[in-house]
């Protein structure tokens, strides 16, 4: 009976349906894979979008900072003009009177009237009574000259003293000039100097003072340097000032010549940082050579030289203007650093170029590193360099040693989930083997997973077949099932072989790709190492440039033949 049923049973429909079911399952699996891939793509695109958005926000912030700083600068400069613009007239009048007296072409009455007018127009301003004293002296009115002088000294003793030291020098009254200078030097404390001391140093370095005054200035400079050098704490601070100055030259460079190393070494930030540090040597060399090789152009006459220096004394060092000047500098730095306010604030804090009182050694640093803000002439920059050279050499060597000590002695390379390590890029073979072994392990795992899937089916099919054998003769249904499971087993086994082949091909391709990446990354690391060594060797040039520099070289007089006496 059962034989008959089996014989006539039509299994083709069931077979077809099972085939369809199998196809449907494959289709669903394919769909799931597609969705998984799409999710991964979407995630990547989302990450990229987030990154781009952050970059956009950052760029937007920087642009807004730039706009804000530009607006603020205009406002600050307007305020400077409104608040202190009228001082400009007094300033111009000073030089005007001196030059008018030289040529004897202006009536004494006019000089007198102009000076008194300025006194009324600029209350509190130290230069106004100086102007009156100057015109009273031209008009031979001793009493008025003394009273005006007394008022000027009351308003600003240091600047008035320096002003008359320079004016006396201009008209050839050497003794009077020396007396004023002595008084000025007596007011100085090397730990707390006014910014305007640069005028004295400029006068000294440019050979403006007479021989006696220059001797006195030289002695004072010697004394200040000596006093500060013998104070270990102060030397430490000076070294630190130079370290900050040197570190401010570290550029924010990116290195496109290392595309693989930057992508596949988790240590790239450190490698990049080390290279950035090496760039400082070239920058310092350019800076120092620029100072030392620029010739000092002496003015034709002492009068022109003193007028230039007087003009700077009266126009660039007024404390009243300092709060606004500080704001002006801050906004200028924001523009200089492309809107990075945070970095600009740090630089501003480090500069200390607009402090009311600074130490002599800080001044020397400012002369060299920030000549534009400290208003130092090229002669003063040279002198500053000569006086500071040992501190600069030591700070630069410490800076170099510090970054060299942080150089990594080996780096990690990460390609997908594989990680290796290299000391000098020479272990390519060893790393390639490790990479291959890692990928083979992954390949084995993937094959194992696929096989496990097949094994379950095979087990199911086997169990079913066993059952069928047990009851094969009882019902035709079980016979049918035998055929079904047999087909399923055959179909899956065939598919498994294809899957395994695909997995092997995939990992072979992956290994070839990753091996190329590994080889390229190692080659770039070797190049990086060579680049680091080449650049860090340049550190020695700084000492070579500075060592031969002596103070005597930069303290000759341009206007007489007497040598300066300062020496270090």
């Amino acid at each position: 009976m059962s034989e008959r049923v089996i014989k006539y049973a039509d299994l083709s429909v069931i077979e077809k349906n099972l085939h369809n079911l199998n196809n449907s399952l494959d289709y669903v699996a394919g769909q799931v894979n597609t969705v998984e891939h799409q999710v991964s793509v979407t995630q990547n695109e989302l990450d990229k979008l987030i990154q781009e958005f952050r970059q956009f926000v950052q760029r937007d912030l920087l642009e807004k900072n730039i706009q804000l700083s530009e607006t603020r600068l205009v406002k600050i400069r307007q305020e400077l003009d409104t608040e202190y613009g009228h001082y400009a007239e007094t300033r111009r009048a000073v030089i005007g009177i001196l030059q008018a007296v030289d040529k004897n072409i202006v009536k004494k009455e006019t000089i007198n009237n102009t000076s008194e007018e300025q006194m009324l127009l600029a209350p509190r301003y130290w230069l106004a009574p100086c102007l009156v004293a100057l015109s009273a002296w031209v008009n031979d009115r001793k009493d008025l000259a003394n009273r005006a002088l007394s008022e000027a000294l009351k308003r600003n003793e240091q600047k008035t003293t320096l002003f008359f030291a320079l004016v006396s020098r201009r008209i050839g009254r050497y003794e009077t000039s020396t007396e004023w200078l002595n008084r000025y030097l007596g007011l100085q404390n090397p730990y707390e100097l006014e910014r305007s001391i640069v005028i004295l140093i400029d006068g000294f370095a440019n050979g403006i003072f007479g021989s006696e005054a220059r001797r006195k200035s030289g002695e004072a400079i010697n004394e200040w340097v000596g006093e500060l050098s013998s104070n270990p704490t102060f030397v430490g601070e000076q070294m630190e000032q130079w370290t900050i100055a040197i570190e401010s030259k570290i550029p924010n460079s990116t290195y496109t010549e290392f595309p693989l190393l930057s992508q596949y070494s988790p240590h790239w930030p450190e490698l990049q940082n080390s290279l950035q540090h090496t760039e400082v040597h070239d920058k310092m060399e350019t800076l120092f050579k620029g100072i030392l090789e620029t010739p000092v152009m002496a003015e034709k006459t002492i009068a022109i030289a003193v007028d230039a220096i007087l003009d700077r004394l009266v126009s660039e060092f007024d404390e009243e203007e300092l709060p606004l000047r500080k704001k002006e500098r801050m906004e200028t730095l924001v523009l200089e650093y492309d809107g990075d306010r945070h970095y600009a604030e740090r630089m501003f804090e480090n500069e200390k170029t607009l402090e009311e009182r600074v130490s002599f050694t800080q001044l020397l640093t400012n002369f060299v590193m920030h000549p534009d803000i400290s208003k130092s002439s090229i002669a003063t920059q040279k002198l500053g360099l000569a006086l500071s050279k040992q501190w600069i050499i030591d700070a630069h060597n410490d800076f170099t040693t510090k970054y060299r000590s942080k150089k990594l002695s080996n780096i990690d390379i990460q390609i997908d989930d594989w990680q290796g390590n290299t000391r000098d890029g020479s272990n390519e073979e060893e790393l390639a083997k490790a990479l291959q072994s890692h990928l083979l392990n992954k390949q084995e795992n993937d094959i194992e997973i696929v096989k496990k899937g097949f094994n379950k089916i095979a087990l199911g099919a086997g169990m079913a077949a066993g059952l069928v054998l047990a009851i094969i003769f009882s019902t035709p249904f079980w016979l049918l099932m035998t055929a079904v499971f047999g087909y399923l087993f055959y179909s899956k086994k065939k598919k498994l072989a294809t899957q395994i082949q695909n997995i092997i091909a995939h990992y072979e391709q992956l290994f070839n790709q990753h091996k190329d990446i590994l080889r390229g990354t190692l080659a770039e690391y070797v190049e990086w190492e060579a680049s680091f060594q080449r650049e860090t060797e340049k550190a020695g040039k700084i000492e070579d440039i500075l060592k031969p520099v002596t103070v005597e070289q930069y303290s000759f007089s341009s206007y007489d033949s007497t040598r300066s006496i300062i020496a270090r």
């Binding site: 707390e192 430490g236 601070e237 060299r404 000590s405």
Partner: protein, 152 residues
């Protein structure tokens, strides 16, 4: 005083555990090491291979006695220098606390604070490195000295 003094400055920092402030010794630590002293340090390199225990002890004694910055000797923990014994060796150390000298291969870790000086000692730019409890002195081949804080 109105001068801008940085608190906790590297050079004025006083380390705990009876360490001397660097500022008091920094100027002396920076003193140029003499040529004869540099030559003495170079002798360490042949130490393990060809010097007897007695000769080595004598070398360590000489190094201590002739140390150019005597007031800082008690802070000196050891010396690390580039090793030229063979390709496998990277640096050698002289542990002055234990009076032990040893050559190290690339993969071996240096003891105590000495590991900090390894990169510098292995570089071609310095004759040797002195390790103090609060700083490192990198001695150049001409005897001049660069100083970095140990926490740098």
């Amino acid at each position: 005083m109105l001068i801008n003094r940085r608190k906790n400055s590297l050079l004025t920092k006083v380390n705990e555990n009876t360490r001397a402030p660097i500022s008091t010794s920094v100027s002396t630590l920076r003193e140029k090491r003499s040529k004869s002293y540099l030559e003495l340090v170079q002798k360490i390199d042949v130490g393990q291979g060809s010097l007897s225990k007695k000769e080595l002890d004598q070398l360590i004694q000489d190094l201590k006695q002739q140390f150019p910055v005597m007031e800082s000797l008690h802070l000196l923990e050891g010396i690390v220098a580039k090793c030229y014994l063979g390709d496998d060796f990277e640096v050698h150390t002289l542990d002055l606390k234990l009076d032990i000298m040893r050559h190290y291969k690339f993969h071996e870790i240096l003891p105590h604070n000495l590991e900090k000086a390894r990169t510098l000692a292995a570089s071609p730019f310095y004759a040797y490195i002195e390790i103090y409890s609060n700083c490192l002195c990198a001695v150049h081949t001409d005897g001049s000295v660069s100083i970095i804080g140990s926490d740098s």
